[in-house]
């Protein structure tokens, strides 16, 4: 288990306490508490319908949780995300991607990255009034924004497609562009909802490397929902396992692999039977 979860010193970057979310008769998330440390990759796994995406939606302001507190500890003090409007959550430093890609399809690849830097630009341009006058501070900010965008285009290998409409990109490129766009919003915590979905093994590998470099080079924390256990086990420091909205296990990849409750959740109650080899591989027990 990683140090950040045990050390009592600095508060964790993200602290979720007693989160509950109910839809009619369905308790989608049930008294969930967990933490995500700075400069760490935390993965949330669980069977379909376990409430993983609901947790994301509560953290990023899509849903108002019925009960619970979601605290982001920033340099400028704690932010209680469950009370903030969506765009203020992004400004506080939490940005997310979606399971189904949501790029601005009719805008160019470059513009997708610039739009994510809107805050910084608008502040520099005094909400575009000075921008209209071509004020030099706005020019400088715009130039910096383009430079940052280009750095990301370089990094995800889309420099030569900067002028394409984002909707025309190949699927894998769209996935990477979505991550780059999120990074251009300069988050402290990046929430990725199944980033490896639909990628081939080679692309998954490249994705793992990209995510690790975000953690190691950009110094941000990642919160990950993922079904691809290869990716999860390889890159995350900390794994939280959900089933029916409850946390059934939590710990390092090694601990999770051998956790009986996890295996039961994935395979049903009679998990005493020997697992078929391909399933063993899938839960990372090869």
């Amino acid at each position: 288990m990683s140090a950040a979860h045990l050390s009592g010193g600095a508060p964790p970057l993200l602290n979720v306490e007693h989160l509950s979310m109910r839809f009619g008769g369905l308790l989608a998330v049930d008294d969930l508490s967990f933490q995500a440390g700075a400069r760490e990759i935390t993965a949330i796994i669980g069977p379909n319908g376990a409430g993983k995406t609901t947790v994301f939606n509560c953290i990023t302001g899509f849903y108002r949780p019925d009960v619970g507190r979601v605290t982001l500890n920033t340099d400028r003090g704690p932010r209680y995300l469950e009370r903030l409007e969506g765009f203020r959550i992004a400004r506080a430093g939490v940005v997310r991607t979606f399971q189904n890609i949501r790029l601005f399809a009719n805008m160019s690849v470059l513009e997708n990255l610039l739009v994510a830097q809107h805050n910084h630009l608008m502040r520099a341009s005094l909400f575009s009034i000075a921008g209209l006058l071509g004020w030099c501070r706005y020019r400088r900010a715009e130039k910096a924004a383009v430079a940052l965008a280009c750095r990301w285009l370089e990094r995800i290998g889309l420099m030569d497609k900067a002028d394409w409409d984002a909707g025309r990109l190949a699927y894998g490129d769209q996935r990477r562009l979505e991550i780059a766009r999120a990074m251009c919003a300069q988050p402290k915590l990046l929430c990725l909802d199944e980033p490896a979905a639909g990628l081939n093994p080679r692309e998954s590998m490249a994705l793992s490397e990209l995510l690790q470099s975000l953690r190691d080079e950009e110094g941000i924390a990642l919160l990950l929902i993922e079904h691809d256990m290869g990716v999860v086990m390889q890159i995350s420091q900390h794994i939280i396992v959900l089933d029916y909205g409850r946390k059934i296990a939590e710990g390092s990849p090694r601990a999770i692999r051998s956790d009986a409750a996890v295996i039961r959740a994935y395979l049903g109650e009679n998990g005493t039977q020997p697992l078929p080899p391909e399933v063993m591989e899938d839960v990372g027990q090869s």
């Binding site: 765009f87 940005v95 601005f104 513009e111 610039l114 805050n119 630009l121 209209l132």
Partner: protein, 304 residues
């Protein structure tokens, strides 16, 4: 030939005014998916404010025409933009999550309210402005007909072109424009990358109202008469222009405005003036039946 040219000039002038108002409709539609039926009234308020402005400027003893124009235009744009902002704040923002019919009804209510507000506060009589900019240039002299473009017409052309260029720049090149296009595509995603969607929508109304204010000022200068009811017809016609060009498309709004202006001018010139509104609205019906997306309004077209 001369007569034709003259109608062309008149038609383009009229079309540019329609185009300026149509942009307000098309921008709001692009971003909110609703028709702001109070936009015609915003234009009418712009015309009233400009008349007040010209009177005040006259009382202040400013006689230099360019200076007076700049002052009146700026003041009109600012005050009309404030009206546009308030309309959004009061009548549409509280209904952001409501079904689509609710803001539409609210828009019609706002339109009626603004008409009556101006009627009560300014009176029902027609307000007139003595010709402020006189004269013109004779372009061509036929045997019995002189083709003439007045200075007011030249001013309208020039101002519209400048505003359109500036507008294309804002939408295409600035952070605000990008935010507007992002909101038009996916409002939720826009807020998730940190865009203040409510503020972006407010600024869209402010920009649309400022353009309508310019159109209102130009009409005041062009015709010299204003009353509380001009917003209704002008609004519906600008809406027709926006639909004709393809609602949601900015170049479409301008193109639709020009076509509508030309149709009206030529219809009045060669057929009957009484039926020019019939001609304009026949276009609306035909477009809605045969090409509901308008001339430039394909689904993937850039919209705001």
């Amino acid at each position: 030939m001369g007569y034709f040219l003259q109608q062309l000039i008149n038609g383009v002038t009229l079309g540019m005014i329609y185009g300026l108002v149509a942009i307000g409709y098309t921008m709001v539609y692009g971003i909110l998916g609703m028709i702001n039926f109070a936009h015609g009234e915003i234009y009418m308020i712009g015309a009233f404010i400009s008349i007040l402005g010209f009177i005040l400027v006259g009382l202040a003893g400013i006689t230099a025409v360019p200076l007076a124009l700049i002052i009146v235009l700026t003041a009109t744009m600012i005050f009309t933009a404030a009206y546009g902002w308030s309309v959004e704040r009061v009548a549409y923002r509280p209904l952001r999550q409501a079904p689509r019919l609710a803001p539409l009804i609210s828009a019609i209510g706002m339109s009626i309210f603004l008409q009556n507000y101006v009627q009560l506060s300014q009176g029902a009589q027609v307000k007139t402005l003595p010709p402020f900019i006189e004269g013109g240039v004779v372009l061509l002299r036929d045997a019995d007909f002189a083709v003439r473009i007045s200075y007011v017409q030249l001013l309208i052309w020039l101002l519209t072109l400048v505003l359109m260029a500036g507008f294309a720049w804002i939408i295409g090149r600035t952070a605000l424009g990008r935010a507007q296009r992002a909101c038009a595509e996916d409002r939720v995603m826009a807020s998730l990358v940190g865009i203040n969607v409510d503020r972006t929508i407010s600024l869209t109304f402010v920009l649309g109202a400022a353009l309508a204010a310019v159109a209102g000022t130009m009409v005041t200068l062009y015709y010299g008469v204003v009353d509380f009811f001009i917003g209704f017809l002008a609004g519906i016609k600008a809406f027709t222009a926006a639909v004709l060009g393809g609602i949601g498309s900015l170049p479409g709004a301008m193109l639709g405005g020009l076509i509508l202006g030309l149709v009206e001018a030529f219809w009045s010139a060669y057929f009957t003036t009484e039926y020019k509104d019939v001609a304009a609205f026949t276009i609306l019906v035909l477009v809605l039946i045969f090409r509901p997306t308008g001339l430039l309004g394909r689904p993937e077209v850039e919209k705001v």
